[in-house]
């Protein structure tokens, strides 16, 4: 299956892109996607523990099962205000 990955804030600089498609085995979890993305974009590894993960507009845990066409966002800690 294919999901769309969005990078926000300086994750765009770390990966050189704002959005990439990623092909995954059916039944993959959000955590497995994150691992694949760290392999593909090694600069994400240093941010591993502080990376926030969302599917659509909701935060989700790494155990969340992904579905075809999901839009997944990765970003650093938020800083509004």
């Amino acid at each position: 299956m294919i999901v769309t990955v969005l990078f926000h804030s300086y994750f765009k600089e770390l990966t050189g892109t704002a959005s990439v498609p990623e092909a995954l085995p059916t039944g993959s979890t959000l955590g497995e996607l994150h691992d694949r993305l760290m392999a593909r974009f090694p600069k994400l590894v240093a941010m591993k523990n502080s990376t926030l993960l969302a599917v659509g507009l909701e935060y989700q845990p790494r155990s969340q099962m992904l579905r075809e066409g999901d839009e997944v966002s990765l970003f650093p800690p938020v800083q509004g205000g």
Binding site: S9, L52, A54, E58, Y59, S73, V78, G80, G81
Partner: protein
């Protein structure tokens, strides 16, 4: 039903105009306003501005979840929140919040909750624009 107004904009925040538009029913006794302003230093370095970026669709959704939570917890009549994005020079307003409630305790609590939670969950980021990055006149 708590009314809410959420504005995410690159325009300057016009606080007197926002205050002029305030509506409070005759049961309400307290309005708490918070104004967040860009300071001249960020992590010890002098800056000219902050550059704010939002993942706006998700930011709107996450703000709405916070509004729902406020409505559950406190008898708040109205919440208004304006977050400016883009480049915001030092001494200009990045965030403006208003909470209207019957009593001040509720209004202060809900206003602080909203800001604290925003800083935890709403996908907005900032980047310093350091002083040396621009030509001095």
């Amino acid at each position: 039903m708590m009314t809410r107004e959420l504005i995410i904009t690159s325009d300057v925040i016009d606080e007197p105009a926002l205050i002029t538009r305030r509506r409070m029913s005759r049961k309400m006794g307290a309005a708490v306003n918070f104004t967040g302003v860009v300071r001249d230093a960020e992590e010890g370095s002098m800056i000219l501005a902050l550059e704010y970026e939002a993942f706006e669709r998700m930011a709107r959704h996450q703000f709405e979840l916070l509004f729902v939570e406020i409505e559950k917890r406190w008898p708040v009549e109205s919440v208004r929140l304006v977050h400016r994005i883009g480049r915001i020079p030092v001494n200009e307003t990045s965030l403006w919040v208003e909470v209207i409630a019957p009593h001040r305790g509720e209004a202060f609590a809900a206003c602080q909750f909203l800001i604290d939670e925003m800083k935890r969950v709403v996908p907005i980021w900032k980047k310093a624009v350091p002083e040396e990055n621009v030509r001095r006149r």
